[in-house]
Symmetry: C2
Subunit: 314 residues, 2 copies
């Protein structure tokens, strides 16, 4: 059952990277509700039959396609596009990979790895991982943004002031996102849908999964936002927090190194306790564990903590 919508943009209408000269697929009035067909982040290079050899052979010129762009009537620089995210129609297929050179512990995990997920798209029951793992699902769009003002083609990888590859796991159904407009019409696109991800996306990939998204685009004149902001309609972790967390800490003067230390210790803990390969623990951390900044004021040492939900391996 799908929320009624005014328009559908099919997956064939995708682009790679951000460039405000890409012609819009469609022009819509504020208040329009649109369904977007989103490809997975590999752009269909990986399928349910893929093996780890396909990770090594990925064509990075074809990763992270986004569906769009949509021109929102009346949107001008200084305004904000308000995106009300209604629902996701997941596909049931997903993948998580360790891609060499990419990820928080890229120096420690130098070989490609791949996990193929086959989850129940109707029930969204926790997805199985090895003999013990059950990962609660919460679909969202990893990449959601507008075209930047600066001319030319910009890589899709980094997020920017206009959004993009933000990988914020709470941009799920019910959330309202505000994106700063830098060009006429905003030029909205979306993709990189995920069935689950923790805060940080530490191995560099989530449960990468094609799915359809229904959302409404509205216009807020002269919002003058510095960066994106959003509102969640309710709790954000109750689907996985019931049994609490295992938590590791990284203490030191640099938040990035603190995050690396916290995640590395959790990988070691899970691998030792559950007899899994370190790279499997690392990928599992990416799809369900959260990086939090516990304190950032007790000079000169900050603490980044990594929270792994105990329900996943209970």
């Amino acid at each position: 059952m799908c929320k009624s919508h005014d328009h559908t943009i099919h997956g064939a209408h995708h682009h790679f990277g951000w460039d405000h000269s890409i012609p819009p697929v469609m022009t819509v009035a504020p208040g329009s509700t649109i369904e977007f067909e989103c490809l997975d982040a590999s752009g269909r290079q990986l399928t349910g039959d893929s093996t780890v050899a396909d990770v090594a052979g990925l064509d990075f010129g074809r990763v992270n396609p986004v569906t769009g762009p949509v021109f929102l009537e009346g949107a001008e620089p200084g305004d904000a596009v308000k995106v009300t995210i209604h629902e996701f129609s997941p596909s049931g297929f997903g993948w998580t990979a360790n891609i060499p050179g990419f990820g928080l512990l890229a120096d420690q995990f130098t070989e490609p790895a791949l996990h193929i997920w086959d989850y129940d798209a109707a029930s969204l029951a926790p997805a199985l991982y090895g003999p013990d793992g059950k990962v609660p699902l919460k679909p969202f769009a990893g990449t959601i943004g507008l075209a930047p003002a600066e001319p030319g083609l910009h890589s899709v990888v980094p997020p920017r002031r206009v959004g993009g590859n933000m990988d914020i796991r709470d941009l799920a159904a019910g959330s309202e996102l505000y994106l700063p407009v830098e060009v006429a019409g905003g030029l909205f696109s979306i993709g990189d849908t995920h069935a689950a991800q923790g805060d940080g996306e530490v191995c560099g990939t989530a449960i990468e999964s094609p799915m359809n998204v229904v959302l409404t685009l509205d216009l807020v004149k002269q919002a003058n936002l510095k960066m994106p902001r959003f509102t969640t309609s309710g709790p954000v972790t109750r689907h996985l927090d019931e049994k609490g967390y295992e938590v590791t800490t990284g203490i030191g003067t640099d938040l990035f190194e603190g995050a690396r230390a916290a995640v590395a210790q959790m990988v070691d803990l899970l691998a030792a306790r559950h007899g899994m390969a370190a790279v499997d623990a690392y990928m599992l951390c990416s799809v369900c564990g959260d990086l939090r900044i516990s304190e950032i004021v007790d000079q000169p040492n900050w603490i980044v903590s990594f929270y792994f939900p105990r329900i996943v391996l209970d």
Copy 2:
């Protein structure tokens, strides 16, 4: 009603800073349950009658006293002290301050500020803040640690490998904390109790509140921990997440600057929307809002998000 315990260490037995030459107050066997009387972080320099002038006059040589130290029999370097946190007996009095030179936005908030809290210690009902604010409470100990191996007196301010001023808001009742031992006996102390705090403790103070803590000290031989870790017995945010969150983002190449940008934007949002002074919004963010690392892999831009629970100002 207090959990039964084997020993009580009164607040008079406190020390300032960490130094493994400070004689232990008590020697206990593993498995001992102990009640600690903890002073507030000002060491009683601030009271319910204090004004902002008292913040400016704080003697920093007397801040953050910790109660202890306790010598745990059999603890040796390489072991871990396991701390099972049973319960807190809060006092009902608390304070939150902006202390010049201290806090994530110290450059923007250069004047002292003080809020005195008067909360219901029996019910732990949300504490009132101005005309609209209601802050859910969850007591924990901000400073909990062992003596470092390195000789001499070490400032209490930064946390270290042996713990200390970690300000991790989930070291609450029900949590089990593991601390690496660096000296014989571990030399455990605790203090800096908080009635509430968000992840980050962004203004530098929480709801600073004297209270008693009951905990059990156990010994894990040859744990060989790199840094502290802990387990929570259940969910960690359900006391405040019911109505969801307002979220601001900081996008860029540096996590610290990203955190600053996210918090500054939330301060602006709350101040504008609720008509409060910016410094009051900043202190409110510190006691209930959370810094999370949304993504740390989409080179070269990371995202730090600041989550403010909507229930507080609903």
